[in-house]
């Protein structure tokens, strides 16, 4: 529908704008940045914080610009003494019920509330009184919930139900006693939370943060008796620059490798290597299923949040999920076996650390069935944010450090391993390999544009040896639910489905750097640039197909035998089972 051009007045000057926009959208386009807090462009309009109020001539009260539509002839004032004071008082009311521990807070200097308070010029407190006092929930492996820091903007509730369709969180109680919590105020650990960490990403304060292992890690890195091994996920390198003030989109893999060594790691491996390995196993598994041995469509299994999600929300489809472990856990398994053998050390003496873009990987590391010979495949998972902080804390200047290569024998990767981090990447990588494994011919046109980009659900087709393979890609657990409903409705519609738990794939993971001063969390432009960084890595590699990775080939030759061998099954594959509490995805539940 074509929208009409209308005329509005903002702060005394007349502008043309489009009908159908909200005041905030129109103002944004015209260069007026109205302060805001609960608003998030990806989520429904809440209109709750009232920070974005403006004066509209003729209205008896202030209007929330995020919700109010522009109308022809409307006279808007965004910056009068009165409205500034009202906004100031509102932000102060929020602060009055907020801990005053900015200096010891994890989000110090990275906090939207703090920035807002600063821009309001709050210098004196007028209304201090009783403050909320709740216990922190430390039970989750991944996410810490601190209701004291919560300002009830509801972004976490909205992303959890609207984008992820998990609805682990809700507003409970009411009025001054309102708290965002899981059902029955149960420990986070026991809830349907998939540990994806998107609540952390959208939280303007520190009401949600990841469970932090930095101090433990520092301590362990100082232990001379153990071998310290790190692996880093593709998406970490695509985003960590942002934590150092760089524009999104700069790939920093060699810098990170160098930085990790300076932190004290003895070996720095690349999760992209095990991504290549995953592709070998997964593509082989798919071809087996495709040839009649197993259920189709096959659904990918590398996203940990998705793993927990499928067990709680979609137990009817467990058989469709690939038995492949995630690249992180494959790497962990190899570190404890193949690599330990190589360096002739007791696997117990190896500290296996994963640097991930993801909070759910912390949960994955705790899954008992992923243990290798009684040891966890990964001892500790730290997020991009944690490692960036560690670098800074240790005085490692990632911007000026000289890049280094990853270590052998688990450090070399193909371009296919790199694009794992972006939605559609696993599928693209798998097709590159599956094609050749099936036909014996090399797929030449390897950049599958139809599987790239941020569309919620992407569908594609490839023809392998005259047979059509129909694939689908979904990112974010909400889109996943939609694709799975398609699968339930028509089991033959797809052969292969990629699901990533987070919006954008791993690049939008729950452990990535916080949004900056001028960007919102989950900003699409930012996600696109991170994805582009990964596709750039792929483009610049000479090896772009997983099966061409010589170190992977050597691994099979020396250790595993062949894909899907007994050894592979023992080390690289896993199983799933339905878990309680059951997750529920409502048909059409609006968040109120």
């Amino acid at each position: 529908m074509e929208s009409k051009t209308i005329t509005i007045t903002i702060d005394g000057k007349t502008y043309r704008t489009q009908e159908g926009l909200t005041i905030m959208q129109a103002a944004d386009q015209l260069g007026f940045h109205i302060p805001r807090l609960c608003y998030h462009p990806k989520l429904s309009i809440e209109g709750a914080c009232r920070v974005c109020i403006v004066e509209v001539e003729g209205a008896k009260s202030y209007v929330a610009s995020c919700a109010y539509p522009v109308m022809d002839g409307m006279k808007i004032r965004t910056n009068t003494q009165e409205i500034r004071r009202a906004r100031r008082d509102i932000v102060e009311l929020i602060l009055d019920n907020h801990p005053q521990d900015c200096h010891t807070c994890e989000r110090d200097s990275n906090c939207e509330l703090q920035r807002l308070a600063a821009s309001m010029g709050i210098r004196k407190r007028h209304f201090e009184g009783e403050r909320k006092k709740y216990d922190k929930d430390l039970t989750s492996t991944s996410v810490i919930r601190d209701p004291n820091k919560c300002i009830l903007c509801g972004r976490c509730v909205r992303i959890c139900s609207e984008v992820q369709k998990v609805t682990a969180l809700g507003h409970a109680h009411r009025g001054f006693q309102t708290v965002v919590m899981p059902a029955y105020n149960m420990p986070f650990r026991d809830s349907v939370c998939t540990t994806c960490g998107q609540c952390i990403n959208v939280c303007p304060t520190a009401a949600f943060v990841e469970k932090v292992y930095t101090q433990d890690l520092f301590a362990k890195l100082n232990d001379p008796h153990i071998v310290k091994v790190a692996q880093i996920a593709p998406s970490v390198r695509a985003a960590i620059g942002e934590a150092f003030g760089l524009e999104p989109g700069r790939a920093m893999e060699r810098e990170v490798a160098a930085g990790l060594r300076r932190l004290g790691f003895d070996y720095v491996f690349d999760t992209q290597f095990s991504a290549d390995l995953t592709i070998m196993e997964e593509a082989s598994e798919f071809l087996e299923r495709f040839q009649g041995k197993g259920k189709l469509p096959m659904i990918t299994s590398c996203s940990s949040a998705w793993m927990k999600c499928v067990e709680q929300f979609h137990p009817d489809l467990l058989e469709n999920v690939s038995t492949c472990k995630s690249p992180m856990s494959m790497m962990g398994a190899l570190v404890r076996t193949y690599f330990a053998d190589k360096i002739k050390r007791d696997p117990k003496e190896i500290l296996s650390v994963a640097v991930m873009c993801c909070t759910a990987k912390k949960y994955e590391a705790s899954r008992p069935e992923l243990m290798v010979n009684g040891l966890p495949a990964v001892d500790m998972v730290v997020t991009t944010r944690e490692i960036a902080w560690m670098f800074k804390s240790a005085g490692i200047d990632l911007l000026h450090i000289k890049g280094e290569d990853f270590d052998e024998p688990l450090g070399l990767s193909s371009g296919a391993g790199a694009i794992f981090g972006a939605t559609g990447g696993v599928m693209e990588a798998a097709i590159r390999t599956a094609y050749e494994l099936y036909t014996g011919e090399t797929l030449m046109d390897i950049e599958l544009e139809s599987l790239r980009g941020l569309a919620g659900i992407k569908e594609g087709k490839v023809t392998i040896d005259g047979k059509e393979i129909r694939v689908a890609v979904a990112h974010g657990l909400g889109n996943a639910a939609t694709v799975l409903d398609m699968v339930r409705k028509d089991p033959d519609r797809f052969h292969f489905v990629e699901i990533m738990g987070c919006p954008g794939g791993c690049i939008g993971g729950g452990g990535q750097p916080y949004a900056g001063i001028n960007s919102m969390p989950l900003d699409e432009e930012c996600l696109k640039k991170r994805a582009e960084a990964l596709y750039g890595i792929d483009r610049h590699k000479t090896i772009r197909r997983s099966h061409e990775n010589p170190d992977v080939q050597r691994l099979y030759k020396d250790f595993l035998g062949r894909p899907l061998s007994a050894k592979s099954h023992q080390l690289l594959h896993t199983h799933y089972k339905a878990k309680e509490p059951r997750g529920i995805i409502p048909q059409e539940l609006k968040v109120r």
């Binding site: 209109g47 709750a48 009260s61 539509p69 009202a86 019920n97 109120r592």
Partner: protein, 596 residues
């Protein structure tokens, strides 16, 4: 075979003076002539309050009232009305209007005489659980008329002409609201009756539903026809079990009689009503919160626009009116929109129901024409302040309203005048306060209520009302600080203008209006640490003066045994034990207890 009737003769002094005794004789003679003695009974009633038109008589159970009746009229009344069931139009008072037959039946002119019962016309007269009773008083005739003679647009025009405005408090013109909903073109439209009456101390809607549930249903069905709604909901507090039961029965009876369901009264119009229960949340009186509650959500309001008339329940156009608004509709249709608009003031038409309570002799439910003064309500209908106390303030609009001082007693009841005075019409709570009521304490009471009922969604209401309550509490406890009044004003004005919904936007009213009208009381509390009304216990103490005769009444009344003393000798209060409940003060017949 003639049917049976009751003839009621007004036996008030004026009618007697105007020879109604003669009428009685004439009636008896005439009945005897038609051999009807015993088939028609004759009753006398107290003053029917229509003295100017006396002598007055009524023919029941239809409540047809004849005025200026002479003995010569009797044969015609008997032969036409009693024998042929044709009322004698030229003698009928008010052309048999629906409204106001109330005190003609009930008497009690002191209390009811100045009232005008439109909404409550049947409350206390008919058996609410018997649809026959409602039918006998022209029930569902308005609906039949609408379906027979009027197009939907005509109905809306009539409602617009009547000048009826929303009785839930905000006073939005009902006809315009209907028109907005009617204009939407969708497959489905909904209609809601807001019966989530939540003001503490208000029970207008409950009484209306309990006393005359069909009136509300009839109003809704007419509204549904006018706007094209297919399904209606009554959202009612779960705390009203009897009202719910009566509504359920009324809906079932109406369905059975063909007033609800498919093809109502043989027309091609279909509509049905479902009851949905609230669960104890005042904020659900706000229309978007109410919609969310019906949808099965937390009762949190959302920003408007879109307005419910465009996008409401289940995202469909939805017309919401409250109980009292709906109950006016049948009367407007039958008695006429022009007539309705002749009642009241220029901008506020018709009547308003109030729950009159507090320090007043006649507490109760009243309905008065718009334009009546507050003074008239308090002193004429309410009978004034009991125990020879002095009037201090009138609170209207409940927790959303304000407190008016004596200076405003000549304010007329209408939306604009009450707003100008610093209060609101509200849904109908009206509480009278005397010199023993502390205005700071009352403001605190209302704010505590709204703070407790805040849904918690928007910052100003959630956080701001809490801070205001803290400040008010410390003032009433004698810990008020310099600048507290200004803080209250600053917060109050912020909450009023920045809150998301009506609850927040009106929550500060009781505080702001008491600051405006009774500022010195606040100053006394803060600066002098004194509560002159003696309501703030922390600021009150009691002492026994030498007026004490030793009657021991106070000693017996004291709940904590703080008073000692022998009979016929001076008593003493142990200040350490005293909880300052004030019972001794109220009990003492000798004014021997001093409050400070």
């Amino acid at each position: 075979m003639p049917r049976k009737y009751v003839i009621t003769l007004c036996d008030g002094p004026t009618c007697i003076h105007k020879r109604s005794k003669e009428l009685e004789t004439a009636i008896e003679t005439e009945l005897a002539r038609h051999e009807l003695s015993g088939r028609v009974s004759i009753n006398l009633s107290g003053c029917l309050g229509m003295c100017a038109k006396g002598p007055v008589m009524a023919v029941n159970p239809q409540y047809t009232v004849y005025g200026n009746v002479t003995a010569d009229d009797i044969p015609e009344i008997i032969s036409s009305h009693i024998l042929k069931n044709k009322p004698v139009a030229r003698l009928c008072i008010d052309e048999d209007h629906l409204y106001n037959r109330f005190f003609r039946v009930f008497g009690d002119v002191n209390f009811f005489g100045k009232q005008m019962r439109i909404v409550l016309r049947n409350c206390g007269i008919i058996d609410p659980e018997n649809i026959d009773d409602y039918l006998s008083v022209r029930g569902y005739e308005a609906l039949a008329k609408v379906l027979t003679e009027m197009k939907p647009a005509d109905v809306i025009t009539q409602v617009k002409i009547s000048g009826l405005r929303g009785r839930g408090g905000a006073g939005f013109p009902t006809g315009i609201k209907w028109e907005l909903t009617a204009r939407q073109k969708t497959d489905e439209k909904f209609l809601i009756c807001n019966a989530d009456e939540g003001d503490p101390g208000a029970f207008m809607d409950r009484s209306t539903i309990e006393g005359d549930p069909h009136t509300v249903l009839e109003g809704m069905i007419i509204g549904a026809y006018a706007v094209g709604a297919t399904k209606g909901f009554i959202y009612i507090r779960a705390e009203y079990p009897l009202a719910i039961r009566r509504l359920e029965k009324a809906i079932a009876d109406a369905r059975r009689e063909g007033f609800l369901g498919e093809n109502i009264l043989g027309s091609d119009f279909s509509f049905d009503i479902e009851i949905r229960l609230g669960a104890g949340a005042f904020v659900c009186g706000e229309e978007t919160a109410l919609i969310h509650s019906i949808e099965g959500h937390r009762g949190m309001p959302r920003p408007r626009p879109p307005y419910p008339s465009v996008q409401g329940l289940f995202d469909k156009p939805t017309l919401i009116n409250n109980v009292e608004t709906w109950a006016n509709i049948p009367v407007i249709i039958l008695d006429g929109a022009e007539w309705f608009s002749s009642i009241g003031t220029e901008k506020s038409k018709g009547t308003k129901v109030f729950a009159l309570a507090g320090k007043i002799k006649n507490t109760g439910l009243i309905e008065v024409p718009m334009g009546m003064t507050l003074r008239s309500i308090i002193y004429d209908i309410g009978g004034g302040i009991p125990n020879n106390k002095k009037f201090k303030a009138l609170q209207t609009g409940g927790p959303s309203g304000g407190c008016l001082s004596e200076d405003y007693l000549d304010t007329k009841i209408d939306y604009e005048s009450l707003a100008a005075a610093g209060s609101i019409m509200g849904s109908g709570g009206m509480i009278v306060m005397d010199e023993d009521s502390c205005m700071v304490n009352i403001a605190r009471f209302f704010l505590e209520f709204t703070q407790n009922e805040s849904c918690g969604k928007c910052t100003p209401c959630r956080e701001g009302t809490k801070r205001m309550l803290e400040i008010l509490t410390r003032i009433t406890e004698g810990k008020g600080q310099e600048g507290d009044i200004e803080r209250l004003e600053r917060l109050g004005n912020l909450i009023k203008k920045a809150s998301l919904c009506g609850l927040g936007q009106s929550a500060p009213n009781p505080v702001l209006s008491t600051i405006k009208n009774f500022r010195s009381e606040y100053e006394d509390h803060i600066k002098l640490k004194k509560c002159r009304a003696g309501a703030c216990t922390a600021l009150t103490g009691y002492e026994i003066t030498d007026k004490c005769v030793g009657c021991t009444a106070c000693k017996k009344a004291c709940p904590v045994g703080a008073i000692t003393g022998n009979p016929k000798s001076l008593h003493l209060i142990d200040q350490g034990k005293c909880v300052r409940c004030g019972l001794c003060f109220d009990t003492c017949k000798f004014s021997a207890i001093k409050r400070s």
